[in-house]
Symmetry: C2
Subunit: 338 residues, 2 copies
Amino acid sequence: MKVVNHKIVLAARPSGLPVPSDFRTVEETLSLTGERQILIRHEVLGLAPAARLRMGAETDSYAAPMAIGETVYGQAVGRIVGSSHPGFQEGDWVMAMGGSWQRYSLSDGERVFKVDVDLAPPAVWLGLLGSSGLAAWTGLRQIGHPRPGETVVVSAATGAVGSSAAQLAKAWHCDVVGIAGGPRKCLHATEFLGLRACVDYRHPDFPESLAAACPNGVDVYFDNVGGKVRDAVWPQLNQNARVVVCGLISEYNTAGRREPSPPWFDVLVKQLTVRGFLLTDQHLSRRAEFVEEVGELYKKGCLRVQEDASRGLGRVPEAFIAMLRGGNLGKTVVYLDD
Amino acid sequence: MKVVNHKIVLAARPSGLPVPSDFRTVEETLSLTGERQILIRHEVLGLAPAARLRMGAETDSYAAPMAIGETVYGQAVGRIVGSSHPGFQEGDWVMAMGGSWQRYSLSDGERVFKVDVDLAPPAVWLGLLGSSGLAAWTGLRQIGHPRPGETVVVSAATGAVGSSAAQLAKAWHCDVVGIAGGPRKCLHATEFLGLRACVDYRHPDFPESLAAACPNGVDVYFDNVGGKVRDAVWPQLNQNARVVVCGLISEYNTAGRREPSPPWFDVLVKQLTVRGFLLTDQHLSRRAEFVEEVGELYKKGCLRVQEDASRGLGRVPEAFIAMLRGGNLGKTVVYLDD
C-alpha cells in the first residue's frame, strides 16, 4: 500500500497574524513500513487556534515549537486505508489527534480513536465530540465546577470550544451568557445555541452591557480570548469565582507580550481560582467518559453543531488565518477533495 | 461579673502604611447579659497583616470594611472569667477567632476554641497552631498539593504563615526554598526553620539568586507578599505549577492599585493554577483535623516556633505597623499586662 501524500508544512515563523506564505505544500510518498501501523486517509481536518501557539519560537514553555518544515499540527477524521495493526481494520473511521494538515497520515495507533459516524457525522468528531468538546468538558468539569443556577460566561461563545462549553453549562442548568464579536454571532448564540444572552465585545458599550447581562455577577468564566474581553468580565467576578483560561486567542499573535494582566489583587480578595488549561494527552484518559456523556446529549438534541467549512487542502492556510481573525462561526473544518 | 474593658478601635482609615493616630483606645464596661455567653480575659493577642485589608474603604469585595470606631479585628488567646454557656467553664483556655484588639471579649461561643496549653504555650495557638498555621495548612492542602520531592517556594518565609507553610512542606518531604528580607531573616530560615535555602529579596541580585536556588524550577509557590517578589518567582514556575495567593502584604497599603500583574500568558501555556485564599469561617470545619496533624508534628519537635512579642495593649498599633513594614520575625503577638 503506497500513497502520494500532500502535506502543509511551516515555511516561516509568523510574525503576528500568519500569512499564506508562512506555509507551503509538500508532496511525499507514504507506505506502511512495519508492524502495528495504520495509514489513514483524512476526509476532514479540524483547525484550532492553539496551533498558532506552536508556530512561534517563544512558546517553548508549552510545547516544543514546531520546526520549520514540520507538518502543521491538527486533528483529522478519516478512514483507514491500510493496517498492520491488530486494533484497526481497513475501512474504520477514526479521529487522529496528531493527524496534522495533510491528506494521509501514518500512525502507530496512539492518539487515534475510532468514531461512530452513525451517531454523528465525521466533522462533529473534530468539534463537539472531538478535541474542542473535550477541552470544553474537561475545563468545566475539572476547573469551572459550575453548579445549577450559577452564572457562567463564555467568551468566543460561537467558536468550537466556546459553543461546546456554553451549551454544556446550559445542559447542566446554569445561567449562560456568551460573548462574541458582532451582531450575527450574538444572534447565533441566543437563537441557535439557546444562550440566555450574548454580548458583543465590539460594541463600544461592551463592559456596561456585559455587567447588565450578569445581574448576579459571574461564578464561572470560561475564557478563550483574554485581553480586553477578559478585562470586562473581571470586575463582574463573584467571590470564589473560577476562571478557566482555555485560550487567549486575542494574544496568540503577540504571545501576550503587549497585553496587561488583570488586577491581581482581586485574586486574593475575591478568592478567585484561575487555571490555565491546554488539552494534552493526559486528558485523553477521560475521553471515553466524555464521549458517552456528550454523545448522549447530542443524540437527544440538547447540543447543536455549527461548522464553518471549506473544501480542499490548499484552502487550509486561509481558513486558519480567517479563524484567527474571528471570521468563523462554529468549528473550522476543511473537507479534503481528491 | 462586670469588667472594665479597654479596646483599640479604628479612628481613621489609613492612607498607605497606618500611623498610630489611625487607632485609639476606648474604655467600656462588659458583663454577661444573657444565656450562652462567655466572657474571656485575653492574655495574648495575635496580629495579622490581613487586618490591614479591612481598614480601607476599597476592599468591600472581600469583607465589609471596618467601620470607624469598630474594634480592630484579630485573634486572642485567653481564659474564661465568666460563663453562662454550657460548653465553657471558668478557667478554660480558649482561642477566640474574633477576639479583636482588646483586653476582654464577650462571645456566644461561636469561633471560640478550647486550646491545650500543656501541648503548646498560649501564643502558639495564635501562630503555628492558630489561624496562621491553619491558613498555611489549608492553602497547601487545598491548593498547593505539594508532592514529596517537589520544589516549594514560600515568600515571607519567616513570618507566621510563611514559617508554618515552609516547615509543613518540609515535613511532607518537599524541597523548600524561602524568600525573606535581609540576611538576619534568611539565616533564621535556614538555621532555625531548617529550609534548604532562603533568598533575600532586598538584595540586588534577588531574581538571579532565586533562579539559582531553584535548579528544578518551582512546583508550588506559596505567596504572602505579591509585587516584585512574586514577579521574580513567576518565570521559575514549572508546567502545572500551583500558586497559593495567601497574602499580598507588599500591596496591602495600596490595595494593589500600583502593582502590575504577572504575565497572564503563562497561566495558559504553563497551565498554572492560581488561587486566592483568605482564611474564612468555612475553613474552620477542618480545624480539628489540622490541630491533630500539626499538633502532633509540633509535639515531635518537627516544627519550630518563633514569636515576635511585645507587651501591653497600648503597644498593639506600633507592633502592627512594624509587622506591615516587615520588622517581625515569626508571629507577632502582644502579651497583655494588667
